[in-house]
Symmetry: C2
Subunit: 202 residues, 2 copies
């Protein structure tokens, strides 16, 4: 006997369990939920991912996802086209956009330099970034990559590539998070936040 | 601009968000995960639900899901065919099976009597249960429906239908859960567990 008495259900459970953060128990719950839904609903559910995968395009400028041509951010005339924020992934763009504190453009690398995973500088669209800057009109490049060894290696590599260009290179501020207790902040973050202390503005 | 710069991504996020317990934030995370997977993987994922919905069959005996004909439980000669446990849903079967404490058959109602949702006794396969008992060989029917008004109404209705048949009708034990503190047990459960107290077996 199959685990749940049906290979079709087993497969549905297996597939839900491939999602990050979804265990077998939740996968079963979701599969049973699917079983109880209308056929039309299930078709729409399944087709969403097939269409996403087959239809998605990327912005030729910044590598942001885009259904067609240049993405809505790059084509938004109200945004500041003189600032480019370099991020690792699409998710980072959404995170930054959610803050409402940034009005420039992005450059999505789609990864970071990682010898372990065989990702070298040439696998990332760094020359494309250089080309965007060389085309003129860019005053600042904000590096917003992660702080691990790989992220810092990537930041440093990019910095070396663009240091000679007439553009200011900045990095997002690091420090103790708002609302975080010093007690529970890791030493590295707390140490850096001491080093990078700033004039108090009451 | 669409929420995420792509209608395809929006739709994928929307569809993940239709799952129980999945909020917008998780839905976005899952949709981005999908975007990063191989096309073949995504096809297999989507097809699992399409196939589940179009291909699933139900056991003519107990209404358990079954890919083909009588389900693995009903067709298992090692199980005790003289006991039938009446449950509301497939999920309840899995829960009971997981305990490893039951070796009989099931009868899945697929719902309970609910005037609010327009589900009457005739919408549930209760006559099918009567028929199974009347066919002979059944010694005990275990009622394992939920304890709300609707569940108890359903249990009572079934009891009335089968009380005249030569079968013992039992109900799963209710009481304070193992490991639960009396302090945090609801009054009804604690009250019932006092009423139904049993000889102490050390």
């Amino acid at each position: 006997m199959n685990k749940f008495g049906s290979q079709l259900l087993d497969e549905a459970v297996d597939q839900f369990a491939t999602l990050p953060g979804v265990g077998r128990r939740t996968a079963l719950r979701l599969a049973l939920h699917m079983l109880g839904r209308d056929g039309v609903d299930v078709e729409r559910f399944s087709n969403a991912f097939l269409n996403l995968k087959s239809g998605i395009r990327y912005c030729p400028e910044c590598n942001m996802i885009s259904d067609d041509g240049v993405c809505p951010i790059c084509s938004d005339a109200r945004r500041d086209h003189s600032v480019i924020c370099v991020v690792e992934s699409l998710r980072d763009v959404f995170s930054i956009e959610n803050t409402g504190q940034y009005n420039g453009l992005y450059h999505i690398l789609g990864g970071i330099i990682s010898p372990m995973e065989g990702i070298g500088p040439s696998d990332l669209p760094i020359q494309e970034l250089v080309a965007r800057i060389s085309a003129g009109g860019v005053k600042e490049v904000v590096l917003a990559l992660s702080t691990g060894i790989e992220g810092e290696t990537t930041s440093f590599f990019i910095y070396k590539q663009i240091a000679s260009l007439p553009v200011e290179v900045t990095s997002i501020a690091r420090g103790v998070g708002f609302g975080d207790d010093l007690e529970y902040t890791d030493e590295l973050t707390l140490g850096r936040s001491m080093q990078m202390r700033q004039p108090f503005k009451p």
